[in-house]
Amino acid sequence: MREIRNEDPTARWSRAPGGNRSFPTTGVTAGALVVAAGKAATRPDRSRVRIALIGLSLVIALLGLAFRLFQVQVVQAADLAGQGLDQRLVTRDLAPQRGKIYDRNGELLAMTVEAQSIWANPTQVEEPLWVAQQVGGLLGVNSQELLTRLESDREFVYLKRQVEPGVAEQIAALEVRGVYAHPESTRIYPAGAVASHVTGFVDIDGNGQEGLEYMYDEALRGVPGKAVFERDLEGRIIPQGISDIVAAVPGTDLNTTIDLPLQYQAQQACVSAVDRTDAESCWVVVLDVESGGVLALAGAPVFDPQTRQTVDEDCDPALVPTCHSFRNFIVRGVYEPGSTQKLITVAAAIEEGEVKAGTVIPGVADLLELRPDACRSADDDLFGCYRDFEEHETANMSVREIFTRSSNVGTILVAEKLGQDRLISYIERFGLGAKTGVDYSVEAPGTLNFEAGCETCWASAAIGYSVAATPLQMAAAYGAIGNDGIWTAPHIVASTTDVNGGQDVAALETKRVVSPETAVLMQDLLADVVDEGTGQAATVTGYQVGGKTGTANKLGEDGRYTEVTRASFVGMAPMSNPKVVVAVLIDAPSYRYRTGGASAAPVFAQVMEQALHRLGVPPDVGAG
């Protein structure tokens, strides 16, 4: 049967037979076939239209959403994922910790610590004048200078780099808008100016500029690392995110042969010597005879490696050009060694069997002309006129006497027996005219002036002219005599320690220059110089000391010798078994102190005594 009934157009919900409310219908009763009839059923119902429209809208919206979803998830997926990753992903260069520099006792000479660099964004600073005054006071920077920076139209200006964390905290406490701090490593030299001539220094960006810092820059700086990671809004690493961290490898530590207390004593002795003698500068190098290790390398004027400025407030650069010089004269400066060179001349003659210590050289005068009438001219020293420092009667003198009294004429007569070629050979064998190979930046090789046709060069070289050497070369040459004839290359770094604790010990470079017998004989002659010769001011109580004075006139700008001298003393102790060589050079002392015996020998004694004490060398039996 068919049931036909009129539909109630207003019906929204019908009740199912069970009495439960069913889904909204248009009046169709469940379980019955209802056929719309009548006028109302033949035209589209408004509700249906609305529903259809809503449905259509929903469908369109869903389609739109689906389209957008497709776009986002499929078409632009890679780009959008990349953009999101870019926001989270951070790449940071990991700066390696620069290696430390230690002295031979493990005392720190240089290290790197975390500091804070203060910077500002001038566009954010509201009251530049007030900020410049407040921050400038804390930073120790001129407030006017800061104000200029703060009023610039840039968005980043440094106010001061690498300040101590405490200062940065004080600035942060001011809560100044537009002023910020970021961490940055800084190089610190705890020994201050004491070891400045050894360590050298780095620039503001941590690049080695001088000394060991420059020489070992590559090893000290380490290998930079890189960190790539995802971070959240608070900057924390997202644990399950992308993380690729290549750790930085810290730089290698340098273990030097420098003895810091001795270095201090040497520097103090030099500073005092400059004051006492009114010299331009003073330089001291202390060598361990056997190993060639440099125990001290000091000079005056002194500079602070932190500020890279002299610490001597009285030093006027207009008067003394070396005031602001960082040049280490011991390694880079060349000078005519004068009488200290006689060690090589006499040792060569003895080694070659031309003379013995007791050989008498007849007719040693206090004046020698290698060219006729050479001594009549004003610039006689350049043209073959040689004088002894003190006038004396012509006499027969033994080689020992010649050496002890530092006779120029006598030494030239000894060298005459040797001949120029063999003299040059020994000068080179003792390491002059070539770099010693010391591990310090830009070492000078020195020069040997033996021009072809030069008739007097050999004689000049025999007494320390026509030869330019560094104080370190002279110290190494004396070290060879102290080491029984074996020359050892001087070095400052004994070993390096990498991040894993692995040590790399510096290899010793040695060579024999004279026989042990010759060396022992020369030690004996050196001891005589101090006992009864020109170097008596070098005496050290309790130890027998040997050494040689040197006084060389400086060349003027016109190429002629002036009255200004370079006074030096090079010696060793104890003479029973030499352990230490000390070389002292005083540049341009006042006239009263113009000789090595007057100015350099006392400094030698002061430094040598401290060196022997520091090394625990027992006193010589019977030594005064």
Binding site: L108, M111, V194, P239, L260, P619
Partner: protein, 127 residues
């Protein structure tokens, strides 16, 4: 006459239709499904918990790393402080203020082990 052959498929009667009998469906066993759902839920929760724990550990590790770095920085500052304190240039003036001085007059005692002790005294100003 032959009798009319009966139709193989008799024509259905008008207004009537045959409804196939309703198959009696077996009720699916609930236990395995429930187990699977439970296992799934447990695995989901477990994974979530494990991940949370991992994240928490990672944050803790990160915090510890930062703390170590801070302590190392403090340690380096202390090392620097020690090195500055041990600088001879700082100690020497302080020692002089306290009346201390570098040994001047030295005295060496040389002992002859073969016989009675023999003292040899050397004195002098070593400055």
């Amino acid at each position: 006459m032959t009798a009319a052959r009966p139709l193989r498929h008799p024509a259905p009667k008008q207004g009537m239709r045959v409804l196939p009998g309703r198959k009696q469906l077996r009720r699916p066993a609930l236990a395995p499904w429930m187990m699977m759902v439970l296992i799934g839920v447990a695995a989901f929760l477990g994974l979530g918990f494990a991940r949370t724990s991992l994240d928490r550990s990672a944050f803790e590790l990160d915090r510890l790393d930062r703390a170590i770095a801070e302590q190392e920085a403090i340690n380096e500052q202390l090392r620097l402080e020690i090195a500055r304190m041990e600088n001879p240039a700082r100690i020497a003036p302080l020692a002089e203020e306290l009346g201390l001085m570098i040994p001047g007059d030295t005295k060496q005692l040389l002992v002859d082990l073969g016989g009675p002790a023999v003292a040899s005294v050397d004195e002098g100003d070593t400055q």
